[in-house]
Structures are given as structure tokens and as C-alpha cells.
Subunit: 305 residues, 2 copies
């Protein structure tokens, strides 16, 4: 990252903290949200919900934790091992507990006796849907509205890159054609939505941050096939805009592993649009200032009507 | 647990799953929430928010993850080691990644090379507040509205005992007298609220589930001092009612470790009321049936007016 971008990140973060919009937690990329942020976030979430309501999605909400087995089946560990949050717990005796407390008192690593649970942190809001939707789809496929607490282990000073964040997604399961059409419809619709909020966005072909040497080939292939589009906006830095919305075709990557098929048994595809609620909220603060009461009337009306 | 209570738990859980109110995840105590549950949950959250609004709390929202250092300072590891969720991540090379993927392919434990991050799962919605509120309180103390995603590692077949759940809390920091008065005011107010929702609740002196042999003394002391009250209602089993609201005095247990003092430097106390949003939602389904459209008009009005 350029020195200028890094300085922009820190300056924006410090300004947000000074304005009591974000509260630092002592850990990079983990923040409390103050009253102004909560008001914007909640208004934005309603705005996103309303944008999808006409299509009558099935509304599901999942916890921040995901079955370890489900994560393995998504093949996430192949692509993004560095972002995983694995949950470990204590199942010891009174004596083990005493030893753990001695480690705490010594300031040494008290997590040594912990063992992996059957849970991990959810990296994407739509992952819990796929095991639930296994089997043959109805004609026309299925459409979901999901809002999830996601985790990606990537500590950063950029307030737009949080380790814990919320994605509000609409997810379609259907034919290859309907999945592509869904993605393209939302690519258009989401640009209109961001425009309605007074945000200037640029759509770009993008790739996921695949890990390691093999990852660069996966990224190149994803870009070549134009599977992922992102809407970029200024958040921490005008020079290095941030993806605030993504529109994705997953092909059969998440349907085949979970036995999701078309009504006739054919191969189903999935697609999703994801609204990064924290990032869009921060883009609004960056665009319109730190006093939501003074934001343009149209924007306020759309968020809090 | 008695055989009857266990049967009640399973019967209630299976009925909720059949009615598409809960979706199983493959892990005990971790569920997706279907459209009906989401509508009830969201209405209930607004009802709780509205009940506290007149007191003009500072509204904060925190992520599901908490600084490991903060957890240590709360002394949670002494009392509830068995409930902790510690987050571990991967910081290895391409070669380490290849080894991890071989473990996945073999079906062996792929978490071996993971190392503890500086984060844990948040066990209580109010914990992130205390480090943020360090220093001298203003006259009259402070009042917060927090809604948090909590985690406790206690797999159970009882749908009322989820590993991942949401607490909506109001938290007061102030004098010993004002903390006690706050707790008692909410003990009264929360009973009225549950009555307004058509729920029959019983207030009881309670204790936290302290770990191990030393824990039983802590529990006895907490009960003797009447620090914790719970409102019990029928959720999975009429024989074994479930705590759906808790009203707690923490004394100086969470203020002293974080340097929170009165304006004059004296010892501050904290108190909170916590509404278990999933448990109250399930109590509503248990009391009024699985079709929220047919719930009593007064209850519907309060949730969705």
C-alpha cells in the first residue's frame, strides 16, 4: 500500500473515532459503533431490505458461527485459509482449569489446552444457506434475503477493512442463465441504489483474495470469466476506492457440493449480490460528512423515511 | 435433566423445524431462523428498543468478536472457562497450507497448525462497553443500549439453549445505589413488558453457571446476595421454565478492572437488564402458537405496530 493510502486510512479512522462514530476495541479492524453509526447502519439495512422486497425473497438469518463441516464443503480452506476463524473451547477438569488460570496469571498462552469445536466463524453471509437448500429446486429456483455477521482474519488500520462486519445479501439458486441474469439485474439495480444515496460508484471486474501461489491463477481465471463485479466508492481514500457492493456468479461451486440441483436433476448455479453494510455506511460518512442530520434531504428520506 | 424435560426439548425443537421456524445447521444449538422467526425477532427487538428509549440511552453496537485481553480482564476465564470460544487462525506458508489441505482430505484435525488470534467470541453483549467507558463517569452515571451477538459453548438439544444468540441489554454505570435502583426498576418494567406480550413469567433469584468446585460457592454467594434475578417462562418445557430476561447487579466486578470510577473518584458499580431475544421469541411461539398472524391482536400490535 502506498504511504499516502496508509495515511488516508489512519486519518479517516482517527476522525471517525474523534467524532464518536467508531469506538476502538484495542484490536485492529474491530470497532464498536456509536449512536450515529448505528442510526445510519439501521437505516441502510432497511433501505437494502426494501430494495429486495418486491421479489418476495425467503428471509433467513444465521448466527455468526457456522458448522466446521459446512466450511470444509465450501472449499473455503483451499482458497482463503488465512482469513479463517476457527473456534476452540475448553473441556477440561478442575485441575486443567487451575493450570489455565496460572497461564493467564503468568501472561503466557492460556489457549494451549483448548480444542477445536465443531464451529468456525462464518466468512460469508450466504454459506449456511447451501446445506439447508440441498435437494431439487422448485421450478424458477429460490431466492433468499440473508443478513449475516461475517469474519475475516485480516487486521488492518483501514476502517473500511474490518475483521467483523455485516453483509446483507440476496442469493438466487437456479439455472445457469437465471443466475447470470440475477447477477446482472442486481449489478444494475445496486448502482441505482448507491446513486440514490448520493454515492459515486464505479463498477469493476474483480477477484477474490485467493491465498498463495495457486491463488493468483484462480484470481486470473475469475477475472477472465467476469464472475465477480464490485462497485467501488471512496471510503478511506479517494486514490484507493473500496468495494462496497459485490455481484457474483458462483457457477456450480456452491450448489454441487451441497447436492442442490434443478427440478429435473440438472446442474444448478448460484449467484448473489452482497451489500457491505459497514462499508456503505462509512462511504456515506465520507461523502456527506459526520453529521447525518445535515445530509442531503433525499438521502435522509431514503434512509429514515 | 429428567427424561420428560429432554423429551419436551426434542419435541419442541422438531416442531419448530417442521414449521420452518428454525433450520438445523448440523451442530447442536446452532440454527438458522426462518421468515416467521425473523419477523418475530425483529418486532421484539423494536419493542425492547422502544421500552428503553425514554431514558435516552447511548446506543452502541459491537461485533461478535471481543479483544482477548478484554475477556481476561473481566475474569470470565475464572468463572466460565467451559463456555469460552477462542478464535484461532492460520498464518502459515504455501507449504503449511498444502499440509492443512492434506489433513482436510484425510479427515484428520486440520486445526493443528492454527494459532490463537487476539480475539475471542463475545460471551455477553455488555463486555465491550467497559474498556470503552474507562475513567471518571459524569454526574448521574451513564446509560447504554447494546444489542450483541453472544456465544457460549454449551451444545444442547433444547432450542432455548442456543450456542449463538442475541442479548439486547440496557446497562447503567453509576453509584452503588443508582445501580441497584436501575436493576430493580427494570425488574418491575420487564415483567410488565412480558405481560404486555401475553407471556406468563415468574421472577426468581438466580445464579450464573459458575464452573467447577469453586463455582458452587460463587453461585451460593451470588444467590445469597440476591444479585441476579431472572424472569422464567415456558419455552421448551412447562416443567422446566427458561430464563428469558435477567436483571443483574455486578457490584464493582466490571468497573474496577477497567478503571471506571464515579465523578469524585469513588467506586462505581454497574447493573444491566438483558433481554434474550431468541428465548423470548421462542416463548412467544410456545405461548401463542406457530402462526404469528393469528396471535392476539394486542401482542401483534406491540410487535408490529
Amino acid at each position: 500500500m502506498s504511504r499516502n493510502a496508509s495515511e488516508s486510512n489512519l486519518a479517516f479512522r482517527d476522525a471517525l473515532v474523534s467524532a464518536h462514530i467508531l469506538a476502538p476495541s484495542g484490536v485492529q479492524g474491530v470497532y464498536g459503533k456509536g449512536p450515529k453509526f448505528v442510526a445510519v447502519f439501521d437505516g441502510l439495512d432497511r433501505f437494502v431490505t426494501a430494495a429486495g422486497r418486491a421479489d418476495e425473497p425467503e428471509v433467513f438469518r444465521f448466527p455468526a458461527v457456522l458448522s466446521r463441516e459446512t466450511l470444509v464443503r465450501t472449499d473455503y480452506l483451499r482458497s482463503f485459509p488465512d482469513l479463517v476463524g476457527s473456534i476452540h473451547g475448553f473441556e477440561g477438569s478442575d485441575a486443567d482449569h487451575a493450570a489455565l488460570l496460572r497461564s493467564v496469571a503468568d501472561g503466557s498462552d492460556w489457549s494451549v489446552p483448548l480444542a477445536p469445536t465443531d464451529l468456525v466463524l462464518q466468512p460469508a453471509a450466504c454459506y449456511p444457506l447451501y446445506p439447508m437448500a440441498g435437494g431439487a429446486l422448485p421450478e424458477g429456483g429460490r431466492l433468499f434475503d440473508v443478513l449475516g455477521t461475517c469474519f475475516r482474519h485480516e487486521p488492518s488500520d483501514d476502517p473500511a477493512r474490518m475483521q467483523a462486519f455485516h453483509m446483507h445479501e440476496f442469493v438466487h439458486l437456479g439455472t445457469p442463465d437465471s443466475a447470470l441474469a440475477f447477477r446482472d439485474r442486481w449489478l444494475f439495480r445496486s448502482q441505482q441504489m448507491m446513486d440514490d444515496l448520493g454515492l459515486t460508484v464505479t463498477p469493476e471486474i474483480a477477484n477474490d483474495p485467493f491465498f498463495g501461489r495457486a491463488g493468483s491463477m484462480l484470481a486470473a481465471s475469475q477475472r477472465e470469466r467476469a464472475l465477480k463485479f464490485e462497485l467501488l466508492a471512496t471510503v478511506s481514500s479517494a486514490e484507493r476506492p473500496t468495494a462496497i457492493v459485490s455481484c457474483n456468479c458462483h457457477l456450480d461451486h456452491l450448489t454441487v457440493p451441497f447436492g442442490i440441483t434443478l427440478a429435473d436433476g440438472g446442474i444448478a448455479h448460484s449467484a448473489c449480490v452482497g451489500f457491505g453494510l459497514e462499508r456503505i455506511s462509512l462511504a456515506l460518512f465520507a461523502a456527506h460528512g459526520f453529521e447525518p442530520d445535515r445530509w442531503p434531504r433525499d438521502v435522509r428520506k431514503r434512509l429514515w423515511q
